[in-house]
Symmetry: C2
Subunit: 251 residues, 2 copies
């Protein structure tokens, strides 16, 4: 986690580690995060309600299924996974969250978190108390709109995952995930072709509805086809076009 991490995540981590009292105005991610929709005056008001606490360590929970819902969260650095535990004790990963992305919105419906969220590596988080966000939304149409859009986006993402699980083969699912991570990296101005997977093979399997063994075999197959180079968690996409073809998604 030390040497490798510094290769692909250093840009995201450094500014945050020595700047706990960062604010939305100077945050490197403000062009892709909540402030995206706001004028600078309004950003200041948003900033006032946001709470920043010390970073989460690897494997620490941000919240657990069943916890009372009070806030949504923005990832400042690091990666989290959201997951539900099924009645027979198995785990369903419902999403991975990278810097600039918002999680916790599934808790609004019942005032109770519907899933758990756990840090896959050290992660800095911005906490946004929901009642404050509601009040601010009522005053700032752009913020209200943007938050509706964020939730709607979560719905369309989930629907894409539904389609993936329902219609696509193991190869297609893994390829699609690699492409999704690549795209999200690009959004953060990181390399779309070289990155370190923050999650384990088990997590990938639990997200894509596959077993670890199958995930591993798919990676081997992809290497044999020279679509990508896999060195444990380090990924290099060699043939983006070929990978898109394997994913069979048209994007």
């Amino acid at each position: 986690m030390t040497i490798h991490l510094s290769q692909s995540e250093s840009q995201a981590q450094k500014p945050c580690n020595h700047d706990y009292q960062a604010n939305c105005g100077n945050c490197r991610l403000n062009s892709i995060c909540l402030p995206l929709a706001l004028e600078s005056d309004d950003v200041q008001q948003l900033d006032d309600i946001i709470q920043r606490s010390k970073p989460l360590q690897k494997n620490q929970h941000l919240y657990r299924e069943g916890d009372e819902f009070q806030s949504v969260f923005a990832v400042r650095s690091g990666t989290l996974k959201a997951y539900k535990t099924t009645d027979d004790g198995r785990e369903q990963v419902t999403g991975f969250y990278f810097p600039g992305e918002i999680l916790g919105m599934d808790g609004i419906s019942n005032n109770t978190h519907a899933s758990s969220a756990k840090a896959l590596e050290t992660a800095a988080i911005c906490e946004i108390p929901f009642t404050s966000l509601e009040k601010l939304s009522a005053l700032m149409p752009n913020l209200q709109r943007h938050f509706f859009q964020l939730m709607s986006h979560e719905i369309t993402e989930d629907q894409q995952l539904i389609t993936l699980l329902s219609k696509n083969s193991a190869d297609e699912r893994v390829a699609a995930l690699m492409l999704s991570i690549s795209t999200r990296n690009a959004r953060r101005k990181l390399s779309p072709t070289q990155f370190r997977l923050p999650m384990s093979r088990v997590d990938i399997g639990n997200y894509l509805g596959l077993t670890v063994e199958t995930v591993s075999r798919v990676f081997s197959r992809m290497q044999k086809l020279e679509l990508l180079r896999v060195d444990n968690k380090e990924i290099e996409i060699l043939d983006p076009q070929g990978l898109r073809k394997m994913a069979n998604l048209g994007n």
Copy 2:
């Protein structure tokens, strides 16, 4: 569609068919629909922005993937399915919508509908123009809150479907769908044990990530186990407890 329909859907349809200008105040569904969260003064204001047009005929579209997003919709009577068409032309059903339920929220994120919605039988719809809803939400905290909750609920529903597709067998998936329909019927004060499926086997398969043949086989198996009686689209749940056990979901 004529004789059978009158058995299970007559209560839902009659009041609507001869009352196009129904309003939220007198709607039979107001205790489970959008007005749920509102005082009667506020219901009147909501009512003023809602548009009711003539019912959709079977197979008519309410909106199509790619259409400009302008409104969300409440089902007054009948049933709709929402679906996406994959790049290779196959269909992924993302949800079925019964009276009192809201659809179209996946269009907010891009100002474009991310899925299509089609009537599975004659359906009366309330259209809620989104910009009006936004304005009203900013004035009525309860409405804003409720709409956030509705979207959040859609997210948790999608996550349940994700888990179902990822972790559960064909038997479990079909059982879970039957129980879901049963529960939603109960919410509308209809029989939880006897109902008519508004969707085809193909639709069920496309929703649950199974082929028609598999769906049909599961129904046969369920009949053999005397969990339910199937007569084409007419379903009678004979053993709710056994069905819950087969669904393996703890609910």
